[in-house]
């Protein structure tokens, strides 16, 4: 029972931290680009503002449009409750494994793309089309990264992967792990709409992906979507962090372990955020039709990861 409470709490922590993570990256980027930038907690203010506003819904939109923000937010929360954040998962962990996670995220994206089409706005359609393209192309990489991890652990379950990596630190530095990490990192950028795949801060019509889909959203709906997207980013970073370098994760529920877990979690997120921020200041956005090339690179990385894991074994 306590385990469930712990999971619930850590999920709430993640939900709470997510806007901050986005704000932190934005702040860091501004600093790196020589601007002052808004404070890292700026997103919290934005959310509060959005939740206070009135929502405007298109005449053409149906219930899909209004349901989507909740679906997106809900699946993000659900996924956050599954992945290892602060406390290490043990045994049969809540509802599913890595594949289930991926498909849950896909569920959110599915609805988001539908909502993009729902208003009849050309931008929405464009965004939906592009988003689905990118998501479809990232799937094999995700799956193969999972395989690379599962090869070591012998299972796609989170608890097995985490505990096996903890027991066998050498495996974490093996070529398979590193390649898989690289692949998953690229996927993270693509799935969460970061540069060089998508620019989270642009509203330039022809380059939008994520922003194009949510163009019609306003008020609390937009707030939920933004929040859900931030949570998705956090989840992906958490996955990258805890599956490949699970050290520091709380193995028991003692206060000290949990504290260490929380600290190490924040630290790992911070490190990855820095990486993203640095990357986003260094690279330009790719043309849409170059994105598949990037994704195929990530696929090859993941395949190499699997093969090298196999060969090393």
């Amino acid at each position: 029972m306590t385990r469930y409470v712990a999971v619930l709490l850590q999920t709430l922590v993640a939900v709470a931290l997510a806007p901050g993570l986005v704000g932190f990256i934005r702040w860091l980027k501004a600093r790196l680009q020589g601007r002052r930038g808004a404070a890292p907690w700026q997103p919290y203010f934005e959310l509060r503002k959005l939740f206070g506003k009135e929502a405007v819904v298109s005449h053409t939109a149906s219930w899909i449009f209004t349901a989507t923000p909740f679906v997106l937010f809900g699946t993000s929360v659900l996924v956050a409750s599954v992945v290892p954040l602060i406390v290490a998962p043990a045994g049969r962990f809540l509802i599913g494994d890595l594949f289930a996670t991926v498909y849950l995220l896909l569920l959110g994206t599915f609805f988001l793309a539908l909502a993009g089409l729902d208003t009849g706005s050309p931008f929405g359609g464009m965004g939906a089309s592009r988003e689905m393209t990118v998501v479809a192309l990232t799937e094999p990489t995700v799956a193969l990264s999972i395989v690379a991890l599962a090869l070591n652990a012998g299972s796609t379950s989170f608890s097995e992967i985490v505990s096996r990596t903890l027991v066998q630190p050498s495996a974490a530095l093996g070529p398979g792990h590193l390649l898989a990490f690289a692949a998953l990192f690229i996927v993270t950028l693509a799935e969460t709409g970061r540069l060089p795949v998508d620019n989270p801060s642009t509203h330039l019509e022809l380059t939008m992906i994520h922003e194009a889909m949510i163009l019609e959203y306003s008020g609390p709906y937009l707030g939920l979507i933004e929040w859900g997207a931030a949570l998705k980013l956090l989840v992906f970073l958490a996955l990258a962090a805890n599956l490949f370098m699970p050290w520091g994760i709380a193995l028991s529920l003692s206060p000290a372990a949990v504290a260490i877990g929380l600290l190490s979690f924040v630290a790992k997120l911070g490190a990855l955020s820095v990486a993203i921020a640095v990357l986003e200041t260094r690279v330009a956005k790719l043309r849409l039709f170059r994105v598949p090339e990037l994704l195929s690179v990530s696929f090859v990385l993941a395949l190499l990861a699997v093969m090298s894991t196999f060969l090393v074994r």
Binding site: V57, S62, F310
Partner: protein, 678 residues
């Protein structure tokens, strides 16, 4: 008399009576009802028989040796595997039957509904008998009964040239499969003349390796052509759109699955699986089908053709499961192999459910919007809200989204493939991840595909008058669709329990693993073969309801102010349907990415003002996807055949002298042979 026998008798009588009585019906309306009554009785009988066999696990057997004794008589044996497929017929057949009552109403006076009733019931009877057959003749008989009747069902709307073309393709491909089937079975038959399946099984074990390989390849080709494996799938995207929608549902949901049945029956049951390359070949065929199917589905604007291609994709997924099972089996991992076969069966069931739902819903769409072209639909969610919800459920299931049924089976296929990675052979260890990658890509693309299918057809503004005027169909058709949608949800949530049963069915096929127990833990958890990775669709559903419901409730409690406004149109005031993203536009990015596969032909024609070319009157952009796989495989055959036929035609040149010369030549040849042979 057991329930099983009774059920079979009711089934045969029901279908046969439905066929004959509807042929003699006094009016079209009566024919519709009689067709349905016969089919319903038959379906209920079939499901009783199937259920009793599945529950008791005792096969039902009967033989009518006196019928066609020269070919071995008619023999029936319904074992659990057969019962599963028989149940499948009923699961899709009953809703399709009820749906058909109103759906065929529009044919009244235009097509012969009596003939339709005959063919419809004959089709159901053929499909029901295939899994019951216990000797070669009975099997082939049922198989062809199914093929012929479905050909005529496809030809129902024969006034369209496209339909006639489709019917031809269908007939040819199905007969091709049949002609491959024939030697396949006969090669397995022992020399003495016995063609009962039991004899085949015994004799297959004694056959030499190469002969077994030939049988396997023939089986894969024959059943693959029925199941729609690429490149033998060509009939599928033609015939399914041409057929009436509830027939498409049956064809896609059940008929092509009998190809899966055939492969399981022959390759796993009779041949007892084989070397690893068999599995590898099946995996390759599955991968190619899955990927090609979904990519063509994505590129298509015809909603029914999209669904047909999606069937190709799903058959590919099923064969991935079978292939994984075969590979594992060949390495002696019998219990793991059963996971592959079980996953294949599970996906068979799930696909039948959601594809039938989608086809039926599409039927209503066609009926209302009078077009299969998605680019002339749109906004249907307003006129047909319930159909929209049902279609959405089907789409989500087809996109393998949790917690619906498509997800459960794809997850199991993933796990079966993952088990392959553990085999210490480089080719397997590389092949299995590749298959996993393909499966993942397929599911991603399937999601994109069904976003398109649902989004373009149902959402935004209507693109044609028909779409604008669309209203809900008759309540009965919505009710059966509701049943199927409930099935999609229910099968998803209850997947662990169902998988358990399917695993046992698969275990019955293989002597080596008959005692293996399924890896599932309880009825809540779907477990991977190693038992560690687990997923619970039911808990996912519960958690998702919570995670979505709680924020919703919170926002509602806080009070949500909202108002309606126009969609932002870059400053343009009046939004029109022409501004919407179209189906082609939606698929455009992926079409570019996979341009090698699609090889689209593009044509841009700009009509300018005669005085100045800067005044553009209209721009027309057409892009057609050329299914080059079909061309690559079938054009050479067709042109070769025609070329040879042209040569043969020359023989009949008209001159009697030439003919007498042939005669004399033949005489000389025969005389030389007689002189030479001692």
């Amino acid at each position: 008399m057991s329930f099983g026998t009774l059920g079979l008798i009711v089934m045969v009588i029901g279908y046969a009576a439905g066929a004959s009585v509807s042929l003699l019906a006094p009016s079209d309306r009566a024919a519709r009802v009689l067709t349905a009554i016969g089919a319903a009785v038959g379906g209920i009988g079939g499901s009783i028989a199937a259920a009793s066999v599945l529950i008791t696990r005792v096969p039902v057997e009967t033989t009518f040796a006196s019928l066609v004794s020269a070919a071995g008589g008619i023999a029936i044996r319904l074992d659990p595997l057969g019962a599963f497929f028989l149940l499948l017929v009923a699961i899709v057949g009953l809703p399709a039957t009820v749906y058909g009552i109103t759906y065929t109403g529009e044919y009244e006076g235009r097509h012969s509904l009596r003939l339709f009733g005959l063919m419809f019931n004959g089709f159901l009877l053929g499909m029901s008998l295939v899994p019951c057959a216990a000797n070669v003749f009975t099997f082939l008989f049922a198989w062809e009964l199914m093929a012929i009747t479905s050909y005529f069902l496809v030809m129902t709307e024969s006034q369209h040239a496209e339909t006639r073309q489709a019917g031809l393709w269908y007939a040819v491909m199905t007969h091709f499969g049949f002609l491959v089937l024939l030697p396949m079975f006969l090669m397995m038959a022992p020399g003495g003349g016995a063609t009962a399946f039991a004899d085949l099984r015994t004799h297959a074990a004694l056959m030499s390796g190469p002969a077994r390989n030939v049988v396997f390849l023939l089986a894969l080709v024959a059943f693959g052509s029925k199941a729609g494996l690429v490149p033998l799938h060509v009939w599928l995207p033609r015939a399914h759109p041409a057929a009436p929608s509830h027939v498409s549902a049956l064809m896609s949901g059940v008929m092509i699955k009998l190809g899966v049945y055939g492969v399981l029956r022959v390759v796993v049951d009779f041949l007892g699986a084989g070397p690893a390359w068999w599995g590898g070949l099946v995996l390759a065929a599955g991968s190619i089908s899955a990927l090609t199917g979904v990519l063509y589905a994505l590129a298509d604007n015809d909603l029914k053709r999209l669904l047909a291609y999606s069937s190709v994709e799903n058959v590919g997924v099923i064969f991935l499961g079978i292939g994984a099972g075969l590979v594992l089996h060949s390495y002696g991992l019998h219990a793991l192999a059963l996971v592959g076969f079980g996953a294949a069966l599970l996906h068979t069931l799930n696909h039948a459910c959601f594809k039938a739902l989608l086809f039926l819903a599409t039927g209503n769409l066609l009926h209302e919007a009078h077009t299969r072209n998605m680019e002339r639909m749109g906004g249907l969610i307003k006129g047909m809200p319930q159909t929209a919800v049902l279609f959405l459920i089907g789409s989500a299931a087809a996109a393998a989204l949790p917690p619906l049924n498509g997800f459960a089976s794809e997850w199991m296929v993933f796990q079966a493939l993952l088990s392959g990675v553990q085999i210490p052979q480089p080719d397997v260890a590389i092949g299995a991840p590749l298959a996993i990658g393909v499966l993942a890509l397929t599911s991603g693309l399937a999601a994109a595909c069904f976003v398109k299918a649902f989004g373009i057809s149902f959402l935004a503004m209507p693109r044609s008058d028909g779409a604008a005027r669309a209203r809900e169909a008759h309540w009965s058709s919505r009710a059966v669709m509701g049943v199927l949608a409930a099935g999609c949800v229910g099968l998803g949530l209850a997947a662990p329990r169902i998988f358990d049963g399917l695993f046992r069915i698969a275990a019955g096929l293989s002597a080596a693993a008959s005692s293996a127990s399924p890896p599932a833990v309880g009825s809540l958890w779907l477990a991977a073969p190693n038992g560690v990775a687990q997923v619970s669709p039911l808990l996912i559903a519960a958690a998702a309801v919570l995670a979505i419901g709680v924020p919703m409730a919170l926002v509602r409690l806080r009070g949500l102010e909202w108002r309606r406004a126009d969609t932002w149109g870059c400053g343009r005031i009046q939004q029109t349907a022409r501004m919407e993203y179209t189906s082609s536009a939606f698929a455009e990015p992926l079409r570019r990415v996979f341009s090698e596969l699609y090889r689209p032909t593009e044509d841009l024609s700009i009509n300018v003002h005669p005085d100045s070319r800067y005044f553009v009157r209209s721009i027309t952009y057409t892009s057609a996807v050329v299914p080059w796989i079909e061309r690559a495989f079938y054009d050479p055959v067709a042109s070769g055949m025609r070329a040879f036929a042209t040569q043969v035609r020359r023989l009949q040149g008209g001159s009697v002298h030439l003919y007498l010369l042939y005669l004399s030549g033949a005489l000389m040849a025969a005389l030389v042979a007689a002189w030479w042979f001692k």
